[in-house]
Symmetry: C2
Subunit: 154 residues, 2 copies
Amino acid sequence: MNSPSGHLFDGLDKAQIKKLEGIAKIMHVEKGQLIFKEGDEALSVYVLEEGAVELTTFVEKDFELPISILRNRGDMFGSSALLAPHVYSLSARCAEKGIILRFESNTLKRVMSEDHSLGCKIMANLATYFFERLRETRQELKIHFKTLLMSTRS
Amino acid sequence: MNSPSGHLFDGLDKAQIKKLEGIAKIMHVEKGQLIFKEGDEALSVYVLEEGAVELTTFVEKDFELPISILRNRGDMFGSSALLAPHVYSLSARCAEKGIILRFESNTLKRVMSEDHSLGCKIMANLATYFFERLRETRQELKIHFKTLLMSTRS
């Protein structure tokens, strides 16, 4: 398990951050509350303000694999909402009582197209975010192959 | 093994494509030729023009795991060159004689910063590309966990 550091707001100037704050819906969440489920239509991007959120994936119907726990203010999740096919690839559940900012993807996309510089910075943040997650996930895959190799040799 | 469909040029207009073509170095490559090795400093992004390129990762010193084979004109690889820490996370080797376009990342970044719209489109293409690879890699990881679960049950 790792703590991703994806920040939607990275590199934005004050006016741009204000714009995003203006469209954020503030959610007060309870421990155990499900924010979204893997496979659901992805309609919103989320940013952690307070608390902790666990991301998991279904390996089987009755077995969920933990992917990461977000604990830092500004941690982004649900970013699948900004890219086709707009389906959540993980589930997100609150591990603690806290506060989450919700950005409806249609509203966010409108703001991004109106302010080209803002849109560009968010796309660059997304690219960096997915790239870092990809490197981590490939690393995990490697560890599994190594274990597999060792077990076939013993 | 899958065939990624990352296209550096997606969404660009004719003038922008011309700009990129203007900075591309054309490489005539032979079967078996190594383009870059995992862990190398990532200085260029590549686009397949003709032929086929295999991407692999080292699991151990003497064991390379195939990640994908690129066969389509326009397939991008080495895109780590555009993002920190600028290190190739895979190795790329020609599976066939062919032609590859090489874009030095410093030159490409300069063009991207001069033409903001071009830079923005390339960042969006990168975000989509890494997102798709991430989904595939997570899927593979899941399959390994499923196999592991089944083996512990039997």
